[in-house]
């Protein structure tokens, strides 16, 4: 993945400007910044949900927005919204997404087991706890074995045991290229290869995570 001078605006307001980063296959980029810094916008641009308004964004060999079709279906997006229908059961939701992605139905049962929800799979999503919905959202985002994971606070609402349970799907152990947005500065830096700091939509730094001190990273929030 390669970003060079990436820009995105909402009307006259600049949400992202001058973002430069390069991520190797299988590496993890942690994106840090205070609320409104542009982290979620960056993830949505990379997911092809928003068009970049300037600069270069090359993702999985496709240049955005022109070649967004090359990227769709190869990205796993886990944002604030679980992208699940509340009136459908967990199994029905995953089957729906499996059909959209052309994934075999057997994978649904496999993923439900992987996130520990086999026994609650036939209950409507509205009846599940927030933690369970987050686990189901992880199953949804990884159902099609994406090459790139775009994760916005993926461990929100999860207890430590559940977070550990999901590591093979969304953690370093998944072996996937990851872009991770988190406010957990220490945890984020510990599992990242590269750290990107955003302040007011502008890039504050982009350095190897091991070269960045916790104090420097925390400076983004002051």
């Amino acid at each position: 993945m390669e970003l060079d001078g990436l820009e995105r605006r909402y009307g006259d307001r600049v949400a992202l400007s001058g973002v430069v980063a390069q991520i190797e296959q299988g590496a993890t980029l942690v994106v840090l910044g205070a609320n409104g810094a542009g982290k979620t916008t960056l993830l949505r641009v990379l997911a092809t949900l928003l068009r970049p308004h300037g600069g270069v964004a090359r993702v999985l060999g496709g240049e955005l927005p022109r070649e967004a079709w090359k990227v769709r279906g190869r990205v796993g997006f886990l944002g604030h919204d679980p992208l699940l229908y509340r009136e459908l059961t967990g199994r029905e939701n995953l089957r729906y997404h499996a059909e959209l992605h052309g994934v075999a139905r057997e994978r649904v049962d496999e993923r439900l087991a992987a996130v520990g929800l086999e026994r609650r799979a036939d209950e409507p999503v509205r009846d599940l706890s927030k933690g369970m919905v987050q686990r189901l959202a992880v199953a949804r985002a990884t159902l099609h074995d994406p090459e790139l994971l775009l994760l916005d606070e993926p461990r929100a609402n999860l207890d430590p045991a559940a977070a550990e349970h999901l590591e093979p799907l969304i953690g370093r152990a998944s072996g996937r290229t990851r872009v991770l947005v988190t406010h957990d500065v220490e945890g984020g830096l510990a599992e990242a290869d590269l750290a990107l700091g955003l302040r007011g939509g502008k890039q504050a730094f982009c350095r190897p995570a091991r070269e960045l001190t916790i104090a420097e990273a925390r400076g983004l929030y002051s």
Partner: protein, 224 residues
Amino acid sequence: MIRTARAILRKDLAIELRTKESVPAMTLFTVTVFVLFHFGLDRDSLDGELASGVLWVTLLLAAVIGVTRLFATEREQGGIDGLLLAPVDRTALWLAKATAMFVYLTALELVAVPTFGVLLLGPDLFAALPVLVPILLAANIGLSAIGALVSALAAETRARELIVPLLLLPLVVPLLIAAASATEPLLRGDQAAEDLGRWLGLLSLYDVVFVLIAVAVFDFLLDD
């Protein structure tokens, strides 16, 4: 595209069966309007132009309710993002929503038309049905095609309850004229009106034009 549209449609119908948000609201509205006309017009029965106008205007206003709700779950529960992330033809979403709207309208008419026959219509409804059914189906296709398009357009706006009727109703005026004109002779007991073929042809032309427009522009509507 058909496989994707089928998956979206199955999901939409399952949600509608569980939430009962669109069809019951449309039906209740229609029956209420017929009851109001029954008392408001102070006539025992209607026929001809007046009966046709009452039937079609009521059905169109009921359709506005369905069109407003058509993208509600997608908007409220992130369904459009889920679809945009998948490697699918986006026109499948329009096809699924238009088909869902067609199903809702047909379900509505299964209750609304007999109710209209009982509460308001003078001439025998049963005799009119063989010709009325194709008119209803042709109008449903056009309404569904344009309804799904307008609903997608209004989905991301804050004033969608206002935007949907403002956009939809002017666009369906030709459909209203053709459907009401085709229905009018049936509702005065004339089953062999010579203009029927012309009005059905106009309805079919409207259907084809709006299906083609929807297929051509829907992808751009979903673009950021």
